[in-house]
Amino acid sequence: MKYMMIIAGSEAEAPVDEERSTAAFQRIVEWWNGHEEAGRIIEGHQLEPSSTATTVRIGTTGSTTVTDGPFAEGKEIVGGYAVLDVADLDAALSLAASWPAPSTIEIRPIVERA
């Protein structure tokens, strides 16, 4: 069963202290590599900060508008994602709960067409 793990959080919360920041990053790298080697993460990436985001809206008539910023303005900004391949929702939830940084994570099943 494949799920998209969407990792969001407050961009302001990033630790300022360089040493702590390196340690926090190191924990994430270890977490990621472990699950990737075990085949539970198929792929995924960290995203650049939301200040680099651009939103394209396509209306019902096909007209498009391009605006600066992410699509949802809020405190929680999507900062990365992973595509998971695990047995069931419980496995996906326990994997998400072990993400080693303060975050809000959404788990969504991926539609797989035969």
Partner: protein, 410 residues
């Protein structure tokens, strides 16, 4: 010809028990909730056709499974994906005779797995409640709707949405392992207690209590206690619901007004029910793993064994509340503790413990009602009146409104 009345009664009891088991077994075998429910419905209809004249069979579970299998042959022949599973239904009929399996998660009754799925934290509370009553409690959709005073279409939609999420998000059908069990069992108990409370003191509408729903909840908790006999909090909740139900005949006056504990006629309490519930609580306490349902039951038990309000052992009750506040530091628990303290040390001490909760409980009618009562005892009648008016503005329950109106007229 068997006696009609006794067959009907036995039939209801057996069907209730076996429908849930059959649903759970079919969900496991077929992996499809909707098909499982249809087959259970068909089997139940067959039972209602045959049992009243033939009598309830010796092995009703096996009988129903066989009937479900026969219906499944008719209905599912067309679907290749079910064909391979059909033979499993035959094997299952003999399994249904066996007594309820307990012990480790692998040997658990299918209903236990299904209950954990129904109360999965990935489903919202309303969906958990509706699914639990519909599948484990074997209530018809219309009955669930009546119990919660919402249109049948709303419940039907909730059930469809929840079952779709279970399927599409792959919510598993299993008893959680030991590391997850405390949190997940807590979730199941919260759902069952919510159903009980909704029945015991309805939060809205024209009916003050829906004792059928409270009894359904008690049945579900007793089922869970049979399936997980070594979990003290399950027994704690069972004792709690039974202690409440044992006193339910004294809770309403002839005019429908709510009668609070100090004013209840204790001779109306079901003494046998109280002692049976206290045995359950004692069994839980011997396991030496205290928890909030056990403590709540112990508080109710302390009241239940007291011959009168005046003779109540308030220091024991305050001590139990102290332990409960440590486990569950919520303002509502603190309010109840404050009221027990008022009985032990007087209304001034009670009020001093109640008032710091004002900020967090300003929208809770019982906060204002409790404060009004303490103010009245302290002789501050204008303040008491204002607090009662505030409480009245915050509740829709007809019995509670009547009681508050009576207090305002006094």
């Amino acid at each position: 010809m068997p006696d009609r009345g006794s067959v009907d009664e036995r039939l209801d009891t057996v069907l209730r028990e076996e429908r849930g088991r059959l649903t759970a077994a079919l969900v496991r075998i077929l992996g499809d909730w909707d098909v499982a429910e249809e087959l259970v419905q068909d089997a139940a209809v067959s039972a209602l056709e045959h049992w009243p004249s033939d009598g309830v069979p010796t092995n009703p579970g096996a009988w129903l499974m066989t009937a479900a299998r026969r219906k499944a042959v008719d209905r599912l022949r067309r679907f290749a994906r079910y064909r391979e599973r059909m033979h499993l239904l035959t094997a299952e009929a003999s399994e249904m005779d066996k007594p309820i399996a307990t012990g480790g998660p692998m040997g658990a009754d299918d209903r236990l797995r299904l209950l954990f799925t129904c109360c999965h934290p990935a489903l919202n509370r309303e969906a958990q409640v509706a699914l639990t009553l519909r599948t484990i409690g074997a209530l018809e959709t219309a009955a669930v709707a009546r119990a919660f005073l919402v249109p049948e279409a709303t419940i039907a939609q909730r059930l469809v949405r929840a079952k779709r999420k279970i399927r599409d998000a792959a919510i598993p059908y299993r008893v959680p392992d030991a590391s997850e069990l405390p949190a997940r069992l807590g979730e199941v108990l919260r759902v069952l207690y919510l159903i009980f409370n909704e029945g015991y003191l309805a939060s809205s509408g024209q009916v003050a209590e829906r004792r059928d729903l409270a009894r359904d909840a008690e049945w579900l908790v007793s089922l869970l206690a049979r399936l997980m006999p070594d979990e003290p909090e399950v027994l704690g909740l069972l004792a709690l619901t039974r202690l409440h139900l044992a006193r339910s005949d004294a809770r309403f006056a002839a005019n429908g007004s709510l009668v609070l504990l100090p004013d209840q006629d204790r001779s109306l309490w079901d003494r046998a029910g109280i002692s049976a519930a206290m045995e359950v609580l004692a069994r839980a306490e011997r396991m030496n793993r205290p928890g909030s349902y056990q403590l709540q039951a112990a508080i109710i038990a302390a009241h239940a064994i007291s011959p009168s309000w005046g003779a109540t052992n308030w220091s024991a009750i305050v001590e139990l509340y102290d332990a409960l506040v440590r486990l569950e530091p919520t303002p509502v628990v603190a309010l109840n503790r404050a009221l027990a303290l008022a009985e032990l040390d007087g209304p001034a001490a009670g009020l001093a413990a109640v008032e710091p909760l004002a900020g967090r409980l300003s929208e809770y009618h019982l906060y204002h009602a409790a404060r009004a009562e303490l103010l009245r005892r302290l002789g501050r009648s204008d303040d008491s009146r204002a607090a009662n008016e505030r409480a009245l503005a915050l509740t829709d329950n007809p019995a509670e409104r009547r009681l508050l109106e009576e207090r305002l007229q006094a």
